[in-house]
């Protein structure tokens, strides 16, 4: 028995409707509905190891703003996003902050780094 799974591709603003066919062993045998290669690889990743880029803020000491936006540099496992959110909420950094500066290495053992996504000057 093969299994079909349907979802919306989030790789770009088009939002293609994807249909992925899996064989008995859970291996992807067919991807339909995608209009580009990014969509095909998203479909494979979504059934095997769903990932999302996480974006939030961290507290900043002495900055022009009280918080600085951060992101996971690479997509992190979807099942770990809330754990990552806790880790990010738990830190405070000193201004100035530079865009791309790594604030947490391998957050929650996911091999994704949390990096600053803007420059934030000190007051």
């Amino acid at each position: 028995m093969s299994e079909e799974r349907k979802f919306i591709c989030v790789s770009c603003p088009l939002g293609c409707g994807l249909t992925v066919t899996l064989d008995d062993a859970g291996e992807v045998v067919k991807v339909e509905g995608n209009t580009c290669a990014r969509g095909a690889s998203y479909a494979r990743s979504e059934v095997k190891d769903p990932r999302r880029v996480f974006a939030s803020t961290v507290r900043v000491k002495g900055g022009k703003l009280p918080v600085c936006p951060v992101r996971s540099k690479t997509p992190a496992p979807k099942g770990k996003l809330f754990e990552i959110a806790e880790a990010v909420a738990g830190i405070e950094v000193d201004a100035p902050v530079r865009i791309g500066q790594v604030l947490i290495h391998n957050v929650c053992g996911t091999d994704a780094d949390i990096v600053a996504s803007r420059d934030l000057e000190a007051v």
Binding site: I8, C12, G15, A55, T57, V67, R71, F82, S117
Partner: protein, 417 residues
């Protein structure tokens, strides 16, 4: 001493920064962008989620990262910025732009060309007249986004979201990630306002219910919001008796539409389009005042910042050409008309001086194969569907217009196949 400015740009969001670049690249010597905030980048500084710039940079950036790249380019290419500077008046006879700044005081600037890039504002609660009380806890989604992402405050613990514009969807996920509950998203129309991928990655990922043809009919609570009544609506958007349901919440976020911000444009006397709410423009992004150009969400509300930046580049380049006397006063002005399925579009005139992109939205979803076209015989493209939440485009080459004989009007439309 009268300061000489070739191109003055009002607003340093994505459209304004790109306009600065466009003007410099076209050879304008002094290009000044005025911004009332202390920071550059406009609304994208609070849009900290990824999803910006895939077309421009071939990768998905967060809002601040996207602006960082453009702002750096603008600095490198000699665009001048004046922050903490408010434009409070534009004189329509002389095109004098009056600015106010704590250090510089009040100044009257007389640039050779002006670009309007003030963006848009959110429709507020007052625009939809919901019965009930007016407690605290009701915010536009963008205000809540600013609280959470730039000021470090959470607006509440249990939210209802009215309207399904992208900012509301993004904020649903943002609230969840910050530990709040989102009871549901309610949309009065029978189709979503935002992009499908945002419904997938912001609602479906977290099991947030999405209710179409449903709206908030009453607000409850004295000092702080305590709950809302929601009800289904019929095809005339009238609430259906017997479908009312009380939902407990301390926060109501509104994602009910965006309106181009044209207070200054009106002051400057440029013609405003009754449907887009933005200046009437030609494909050079020139308004009814030949020295004033406009780009981005101040003209028509776009889905994608890449399009806003592209339009900014065009408006800046056109303003630089005008400042140098390179746009003739009698450019062609061929009107564009929208067909029966087109709700709004921009630009409204085509000159044939440049390759043109006309952006448009359909009045209602057309599911299944259809085509977007421009007549007479200028453009035709097959589509898999057309939806109001996703803009469509028509592309017309300058030579098509230059070579046309007796072209008095262009009609654009989308029709099922």
């Amino acid at each position: 001493m009268i300061e000489r400015i070739d191109v003055l740009i009002i607003g340093a969001g994505p459209a304004g920064v790109a306009a600065g670049l466009g003007a410099r690249r076209e050879g304008a010597e002094r290009v000044v962008v005025v911004e009332r905030d202390w920071d550059l980048g406009g609304i994208l500084q609070q849009c900290i989620h990824p999803g910006f710039g895939l077309r421009t940079f071939k990768e998905e950036l967060t809002g601040p990262e996207y602006m960082h790249r453009f702002i750096k380019q603008a600095h490198d290419e000699g665009v001048e910025f004046r922050t903490n500077t408010m434009v409070f008046q534009i004189d329509r006879e002389t095109n004098t732009v009056w600015t106010m700044n704590k250090e510089r005081g009040i100044e009257a600037l007389n640039p050779s060309a002006i670009v309007l890039t003030m963006g848009c504002r959110e429709r507020p609660l007052g625009a939809i007249r919901i019965p009930g009380t007016r407690p605290s806890g009701i915010y536009t989604a963008g205000t809540a986004q600013r609280f959470v992402n730039m000021e470090g405050y959470m607006p509440g613990k249990r939210a209802v979201i009215l309207g399904s514009g992208d900012i509301g969807l993004i904020m649903a996920r943002r609230m969840i990630w910050e530990g709040a509950e989102v009871e549901g998203v309610y949309e009065v129309m029978s189709w979503p306002g935002g992009l499908r991928r945002n419904i997938a990655q912001c609602l479906d990922d977290y099991g947030i219910p999405f209710h179409l043809k449903t709206t908030v009919t009453k607000i409850h609570g004295q000092d702080r919001l305590e709950g809302v009544t929601v009800a289904e609506v019929d095809d005339h958007m009238t609430p259906i008796k017997g479908t009312e349901r009380y939902v407990e919440c301390d926060t109501l976020l509104l994602a009910i539409g965006l309106i181009p911000e044209n207070e200054l444009s009106r002051m400057a006397g440029v013609d405003i389009h009754p449907v887009t709410g933005g200046p009437v423009v030609n494909d050079l992004l020139q308004t009814s005042n030949p020295a004033i150009f406009a780009a981005g969400n101040v003209v028509i509300v776009y889905d994608l910042v890449d399009n806003v930046s592209d339009e900014g580049l065009i408006a800046g380049a056109s303003a630089a050409k005008f400042a140098a006397g390179k746009i003739s006063a009698d450019v062609k002005r061929i009107p564009v008309k929208g067909g029966e399925n087109v709700r709004l579009y921009s630009p409204q005139y085509i000159t044939g001086e440049t390759d043109a992109t006309i952006f448009m939205r359909v009045t209602h979803p057309i599911e299944g194969a259809c085509k977007v076209f421009a007549e007479p015989d200028l453009y035709s493209q097959r589509l898999r569907y057309a939806r109001p939440g996703e803009m469509n485009e028509v592309h017309i080459k300058a030579e098509q217009i230059r070579n046309a004989v007796d072209l008095s009007e262009i009609t654009i439309d989308i029709q099922p196949l």
